[in-house]
């Protein structure tokens, strides 16, 4: 990853969402992006130029645009029409982004479009986030990494975030994954955690 004076950046054409530029690089703000927050907390896995990535919950394509600066290609899945309009615009400018309008809880919808990937990044506001991980495992290479951005409040608003994290880790391990680390994303994002997983 590229850091300039302690600031995480990505190499690419700027002006996607009014991001700051630093020495011709795009500043990747950990307060806006959970993935950037994970890197800032030291828990990220490096993005390499030959990597292919499946990004579930791509939203407006803000984080996707930074990921695309680093890797070979990104399959960006988003369900809602409004953010999808922005995501399409990002995909027009970034030739390595494939925008897919589909529901991450139903991988059959995009199965004929997506190849095996080195990393899946999942950032969806859904109750059954562990279930979505397991449903999307077929797309992950044998030695690939699955990064789950867990919104604990989407799982259960009433429960204690740590309890939700523990329960999710248990579900993932029961589904055949090994959770290497669960990093809380405070102070950048409240009640969020990033779980870095691989196959057992």
């Amino acid at each position: 990853m590229i850091w300039i004076d302690g600031v995480l950046v990505s190499p690419g054409e700027g002006g996607v969402y009014g991001e700051r530029m630093l020495k011709d690089h795009r500043v990747w703000d950990p307060r806006r992006s959970k993935l950037a927050a994970l890197f800032a907390k030291g828990g990220g896995r490096d993005l390499d130029p030959q990597m292919r990535i499946l990004y579930l919950g791509a939203a407006n394509g803000t984080t996707v645009s930074h990921v695309a600066d680093y890797v070979e290609s990104v399959y960006a899945v988003e369900f809602a029409p409004r953010p999808m309009q922005d995501l399409i615009e990002v995909a027009r400018r970034r030739k390595n982004v494939v925008p897919i309008m589909a529901d991450a809880t139903h991988p059959v919808e995009y199965a004929p479009l997506v190849e095996e990937v080195d990393m899946v990044i999942q950032d969806v506001a859904q109750p059954d986030q562990a279930g979505i991980v397991l449903a999307n495992l077929p797309f992950l290479k044998q030695d690939g990494v699955y990064i789950l951005m867990l919104k604990t409040r989407s799982v259960d608003v009433r429960a204690d975030p740590d309890a939700v994290i523990t329960a999710t880790v248990r579900n993932l391990e029961a589904g055949g994954l090994k959770v290497h680390a669960a990093t809380r994303l405070e102070p950048f994002h409240r009640d969020h955690a990033a779980l870095v997983c691989t196959r057992k």
Partner: protein
């Protein structure tokens, strides 16, 4: 056999899909895939298939297809009759807020320019106030007040339009609670389809989310009503029966929303029975 966007692959042999983007997209909609027997595609198969020349070409074709599909789906989504209604309701509610704020500010400004003026003991509503302020020609304030007035009349026009649209989109809900309240319920639920799938208990407290979550978190009393409080049967009911009226009204609205969504036309039998029941619990039999 594995079905992919570029064709079918079986035992190393590939049959390419035929036709232009539209045909490829239509074919994707007909594919029946199960994740159990699914093997992820490899792009080299697409080259072997003769669909594309290299990796760059592969991605370009796939992107063109995906963008085309997404655009088609987005425009189909926006063409649903209730989607524009959502924006209209939200615009209406924001206009209310803005007009109130501007009128208050203009009044404060007017008072500064007219030290002898007071609203005490005079029933001057916002509308009347604006027409008074408008006469102040010596300052930008006067013409600003005129603009606020125009905004207010635009707001009234928009309100009528919202009401008419709601009558068309959700005739049964609108008949029960009026077009405006029906439109607000649809807006809060995120669409008529979503509203039709909500349980009555949720419809009852739509618009009272803050109170509801405070209740769930810290055990304060649960809210009795949200948006449906705006219906006269609810806000005119005495406190002791208000919750009951809200509950019954929400239950009938739940049914009405489903008739609206799945049948799409007015149901006089249902409306008559529902209205009678609501009047009953409101104690006006």
């Amino acid at each position: 056999m594995q079905h992919y966007w570029f064709g079918d692959v079986e035992g190393g042999a590939c049959t390419p899909a035929q036709g232009d983007l539209g045909a490829l997209s239509d074919r994707l909609d007909t594919l029946r895939i199960t994740m159990e027997s699914f093997i992820p595609l490899s792009w080299e198969d697409a080259v072997a298939c003769g669909v594309c020349a290299d990796r760059r070409d592969y991605l370009d074709r796939l992107r063109a297809l995906c963008i085309r599909r997404a655009e088609t789906e987005i425009s189909a989504y926006y063409q649903q009759s209730d989607i524009e209604l959502l924006q209209m309701v939200r615009m209406l509610d924001e206009m209310d807020t803005v007009i109130n704020l501007l009128t208050e500010r203009a009044t404060e400004w007017y008072i500064v320019r007219n030290p002898g003026f007071s609203r005490k003991y005079r029933a001057i509503g916002a509308k009347k106030m604006l027409s008074i302020i408008k006469k102040d020609r010596a300052s930008p304030l006067g013409s600003l007040a005129g603009e606020i007035e125009r905004l207010a009349s635009e707001r009234t026009r928009l309100m009528r339009e919202v009401s008419t649209r709601a009558d068309a989109v959700a005739p049964n809900c609108s008949a029960l609670v009026g077009g405006l309240v029906a439109a607000r319920l649809i807006s809060r639920a995120g669409g008529l389809a979503q509203l039709a799938r909500l349980p009555a208990s949720t419809i009852q407290v739509l618009g009272a989310e803050n109170a509801l979550f405070t209740h769930l978190r810290s055990g304060t009393p649960s809210p009795k009503h949200g948006i449906i409080f705006q219906h006269r049967r609810v806000h005119n009911a005495p406190r002791s029966t208000r919750g009951r009226v809200a509950r019954v009204l929400a239950a009938k609205l739940g049914i009405a929303a489903r008739i609206d969504y799945f049948r799409g036309e007015m149901s006089p039998e249902f409306l008559e029975k529902a209205q009678r029941r609501i009047d009953d619990v409101a104690g006006i039999a």
